[in-house]
């Protein structure tokens, strides 16, 4: 087992470098929730099924190392707001050892 360091910039702009486990079958959205870096009820609303866009993040590095977007994720981002070219749904990003040093910013919560 091993942890990776991930830097997450919260919605207030504060950066948090945290340890994320690679052996717990967790995704980035779950890591953000486990560290309570976004208010409950404003992130991961659908539970991680790529069916809402509340866990949208901007990927600041390593973009090429992430898994390709599924059709569901593409579709969901299509309906979301504040979408940029580096937008991803964090629930679709499993934490793996490759991601040591990943930096992301949580997208604003939408109305």
């Amino acid at each position: 087992m091993s942890d990776v360091k991930i830097t997450i910039i919260d919605r207030e702009g504060e950066a948090h470098t945290i340890d994320a486990p690679t052996d717990m079958n967790m995704n980035l959205m779950e890591v953000i929730r486990s560290y309570e870096l976004a208010e409950e009820g404003t992130i991961g609303i659908c539970g991680g099924m790529a069916m809402c866009a509340s866990c949208q993040c901007y990927i600041l590095n390593f973009e090429h190392m992430l898994p390709e977007k599924s059709i569901e994720e593409e579709d969901m981002l299509d309906q979301a707001f504040f979408v940029e070219d580096n937008s991803r749904l964090s629930c679709q990003i499993p934490i793996t050892t490759d991601l040591d040093g990943l930096e992301v910013r949580i997208a604003p919560a939408s109305e």
Binding site: E40, G41, D75, D78, Q79, F81, P108, E111
Partner: protein
């Protein structure tokens, strides 16, 4: 006025199962839900997805779970107010409650149970500055009466089914229909996408892709929208219109319940989990995903458990002088309000002479 013993707000799995537990205690239930069908998220968001942690079901589709729950509670004849959102609650002199929906339907009950999950599903509003100022003055997020748009100019934004379907429908009603979408790809039924393409070719829908509505203009009433193209070489486009209808799907909001004087924490309602899942207002309970307490898990199975505990307390509230002990359905069977009776087969005792 609809009268019942237990008024349940939210017809998701937890709210539905509460009807069963209440029925065993001879309490009648009525449910309110903002969605047009029962089942909550299970029906609205993921009916075809499997759930693996319902005890006794190694695998069950969310939609099937809802169907099973509806079957299970049928003998208890629950009432439904669907497609309406619980808006206000008024405590009466006798400590009962009147809950009124956004459409004015009134419900009267001694016990109110909030099983509202993540809240009611509301249209998502695009983050365009000042959009609130134009609501009902040219901007709407739902189409209630298509006749409103007859011979008017309409701009629809979005790329999902509802944006496609309404563009097609309004192409025959409105004077001019424009569909603005951020990409060239549309998600939605293939039929609808092809139909929009066809209508666009014959000039009945003005299709504007790779573009977004970024601003709204008009004195008091909307008179135009500003469209920005992805291709930065193209200039921003002012499009005159009578109506702007952004259709970006639904997202859950705690909504008016947040103003009912209940203690709220982390977008959820605080309850007494040492006992009966009652809120800080006696007579109002909260069960399932909508509540919170130390160690809360937002699981359907936890909602079921909370429903059973809550019903015992609600029974005591409604019948303060009655003594009661919990009974097993295997022992006592299930007697419905419809006269039906389910029970285990009795062993036949017959002597052989």
């Amino acid at each position: 006025m609809i009268k019942t013993d237990m008024l349940i707000i939210g017809a998701g799995p937890t709210g539905l199962f509460a009807v069963f537990e209440a029925g065993l205690l001879k309490m009648k239930c009525h449910l309110i839900d903002a969605l047009p069908q029962p089942g909550g998220q299970c029906s609205e968001i993921y009916p075809k997805k499997p759930i693996y942690d319902i005890p006794g079901f190694p695998e069950v589709l969310a939609g099937d779970l809802v169907d099973n729950l509806m079957e299970q509670i049928k003998p208890f004849e629950p009432g439904f107010t669907l497609g309406e959102r619980a808006e206000t609650i008024e405590k009466q002199d006798d400590d009962s409650f009147i809950v009124t929906t956004n459409k004015g339907t009134k419900h009267h009950a001694p016990v109110v149970v909030i099983a509202g999950g993540l809240g009611s599903f509301e249209p998502r509003k695009p983050p365009i500055k000042g959009i609130q100022d134009y609501e009902d003055k040219g901007v709407s997020y739902i189409i209630r009466d298509p006749e409103v748009y007859r011979d008017k100019r309409v701009v629809i934004a979005g790329g999902g089914d509802s944006a496609l379907d309404w563009s097609i429908f309004l192409a025959d009603v409105a004077k001019e229909v424009s569909l603005v979408h951020r990409r060239k790809d549309f998600r939605g039924a293939l039929d609808s996408v092809e139909k929009v393409e066809e209508l666009s070719k014959i000039g009945k829908i003005n299709l504007i892709t790779d573009a977004e509505v970024v601003d709204l203009k008009g004195e008091g009433e909307l008179d135009s929208v500003l469209i920005r193209h992805k291709d930065e070489a193209r200039e921003e486009e002012v499009k005159e219109t009578d109506h702007f209808i952004p259709l970006f799907g639904l997202s859950p909001k705690l909504g008016p319940i947040a103003n009912w004087g209940l203690e709220i924490e982390k977008n959820a309602i605080k309850v007494d989990n040492a006992y009966d899942y009652q809120t800080n207002v006696p007579g109002i309970y909260a069960i399932g995903d909508v509540n919170t307490y130390k160690g809360k898990l937002k699981l359907i199975l936890c909602g079921f458990h909370e429903a059973a505990i809550m019903c015992q307390s609600a029974y005591q509230r409604i019948n303060p002088d009655k003594k009661y002990v919990m009974k097993y359905t295997t022992v006592s069977g299930v007697s419905g309000f419809d006269g039906s009776k389910k029970e285990a087969k009795r062993e036949v005792v017959k002597s052989i002479n």
